[in-house]
């Protein structure tokens, strides 16, 4: 393989995934045995470790995939290989910086981006390099972009906008106003997720088009309609995170209106799904295809949940509970991680084929992944429902009593977390091995 940098992105991403889930398990352990290891592995470090590391997985895998498609699959001549290398090195060094900042307890940042804020500068710089390389490469060589090229471009630009927005609190003007500060903080996170979804959903359309060898995919009116709908939601739909925050009502109205447009997506999915029932599923499609098909299931489940709690009257009860965590992990694992696995499988299939044995093992692990995730997800929903009930109906017992009553639910969460992790390891390791082999070619 000529160009190794994209592979390095992917290898680092997989390592981040493995580390990230390990941190997740350690964080979950605190729910079960609060006093145990609390000094050594405190929750307030494990949680940010976990969240930042798994986000790193998503972002690096998406970035590496896009670089790979452009340079190795489409065979475009990248505007600059040097920029791509610099991008990787900048991210690698920043990553090390983030962990050092965590270890030494220099966590002046916030939720999701808890590291010391200075490190945002090199991260932004990395995205800038990616953006320059992307647009310079694409504008010259491709006319009439299919939708995924638009999505990637959009994702890169909005990533920069919202990373910046997430740090507006550094200005006293925002920090001094509790409500404005909260609103802007969660606005930026909502859109931040929307931005990486642009990258990841673009990847899913791309991989589907390549697997089916159908160039029409991603070029129709409908594909663009959904892209614009997604973009609208990225820009204006974030505020369902903050329905409950006493900010100006119009902000909350707009969010409600915009969020509800996603029903169209749901309606369309059901329509498509019914249509596809009449076609026979092809068994000959590669592994990557199976991952994309499972993603459909998770999109469906998560969309229904998200739509329900985008209705303020329902959000009122689910907000501030593990139902929210079920949604965030349900989407980042069920949708983003499945799509990214599909991307990786598509990529390694171009390096060399898996043996029959490996293929069977990955198929089995995919099944394990889906079943574990489903149960993991259910455990979080139950924990959330219990807390909601405690907040609104049975606020007669103490917080710690309520938590203790959930012991077995948290145990289930932990156990399914282990099986989920195991299945991800069995999917990830063979891919990792192939990628590393690919480096040697």
């Amino acid at each position: 393989m000529k160009n190794k940098t994209s592979t390095l992105f992917l290898i680092t991403a997989l390592l981040a995934l493995l580390m990230g889930v390990a941190f997740g398990l350690l964080a979950a352990l605190q729910y079960l045995i609060p006093e145990f290891l609390k000094d050594l592995l405190p929750f307030h470090k494990m949680r940010p470790f976990h969240v930042t590391t798994v986000i790193t997985w998503i972002v690096l895998c998406a970035t590496g995939s896009i670089y790979f498609y452009l340079s190795q699959v489409e065979k475009f001549k990248l505007f600059s290989d040097k920029l791509m290398k610099t991008h990787f090195i900048v991210f690698l060094i920043t990553g090390i910086g983030i962990y050092l900042s965590y270890f030494f307890g220099k966590m002046e940042g916030r939720e999701y981006l808890a590291f010391t804020p200075i490190l945002t500068i090199p991260i932004l710089f990395g995205w800038l390099l990616f953006g320059i390389n992307y647009f310079k490469t694409m504008l010259k060589q491709v006319k009439n972009w299919p939708v995924y090229y638009w999505m990637w471009g959009t994702g890169i630009v909005f990533m920069m906008i919202h990373l910046t927005e997430a740090h507006l609190w550094l200005m006293p003007y925002f920090r001094e106003h509790v409500i404005k500060d909260l609103t802007v903080q969660w606005k930026s996170y909502g859109s931040f997720v929307g931005s990486w979804n642009m990258l990841v959903y673009g990847i899913s359309i791309y991989v589907m088009a390549k697997i089916k060898g159908d160039h029409a995919i991603g070029r129709g009116k409908l594909a663009f309609f959904f892209y614009f709908l997604g973009l609208t939601n990225l820009m204006f739909g974030w505020a369902h995170h903050t329905y409950i925050v006493p900010t100006l009502p119009w902000i909350r109205y707009v969010a409600y209106g915009v969020s509800m447009t996603e029903w169209i997506v749901l309606g369309y999915m059901i329509y498509e799904w019914r249509r596809s029932l009449t076609k026979t599923e092809k068994d000959s499609y590669p592994l990557a295809y199976r991952f994309l098909v499972t993603t459909d299931f998770w999109i469906f489940v998560n969309l229904i949940i998200a739509l329900l709690f985008s209705i303020p009257a329902i959000n009122f009860f689910t907000h501030g509970t593990h139902i929210t965590v079920a949604h965030s992990m349900g989407t980042t694992i069920g949708i983003n991680t499945s799509i990214l696995f599909a991307s990786l499988l598509f990529i390694v299939s171009r390096i060399s084929a898996f043996t029959k044995k490996e293929e069977t093992s990955i198929k089995r692990s995919l099944l394990g992944f889906n079943i574990s995730l489903f149960l993991f997800f259910m455990a979080l929903l139950v924990a959330g429902a219990r807390r909601s009930h405690w907040m609104y109906a049975g606020n007669d017992t103490s917080f710690s009593n309520m938590q203790e009553s959930l012991f077995w639910v948290y145990m289930a969460f932990f156990v399914f977390g282990i099986t989920l992790t195991t299945s991800m390891v069995f999917i990830g390791l063979p891919i990792l091995r192939k990628l590393i082999n690919g480096l040697r070619l």
Binding site: K45, R110, K143, L182, P312
Partner: protein, 143 residues
């Protein structure tokens, strides 16, 4: 540039303009009818809150991590309040780390929580549910 590309760019431009205007409003409009501005001491408390990752276990307005309780109204809750908050800070109860705050740092954190408390209610027990799925929140210090 093809026709289709121009068309897409036009739509994106319209969205972007709306986005800029909208952001302008969100950033500059008053947050609600009675905005509260943090004092120097409360800002100190906010910094301590952030640097010690209180948010990874606690929430304000239900936003944060979920291992611990929401603290939006802990300042004014029945049987709780400043002394109660202070008692927790260095206690190391349950999963909560055993912090080592000085008296003035404790005061700062209490002051921050006091300001948070004054901005509104969470949970918003007196919210009014509308048939449209909307909820009308109860705001603090209205009128």
């Amino acid at each position: 540039m093809t026709e289709k590309t121009k068309y897409n760019i036009a739509i994106i431009s319209i969205l972007l303009i709306l986005f800029v205007v909208y952001n302008g409003f969100v950033y500059t409009s008053k947050e609600n009818a009675n905005p509260v501005i943090l004092t120097e001491q409360a800002l100190h408390g906010q910094r301590l809150w952030q640097e010690n990752n209180c948010w990874s276990c606690h929430q304000t307005y239900g936003l944060g991590g979920y291992l611990g309780p929401d603290l939006t109204n802990v300042y004014s809750a029945k049987n709780k309040g400043p002394q109660y908050i202070k008692a927790f800070l260095n206690s190391g109860v349950k999963t909560m780390p055993k912090f080592n705050f000085s008296e003035s740092e404790k005061e700062a954190l209490v002051s921050y929580l006091k300001f948070v408390d004054s901005t509104g209610y969470y949970p918003n027990y007196h919210a009014i549910f509308k048939p449209s799925g909307w909820i009308e929140l109860e705001y603090k210090n209205e009128k």
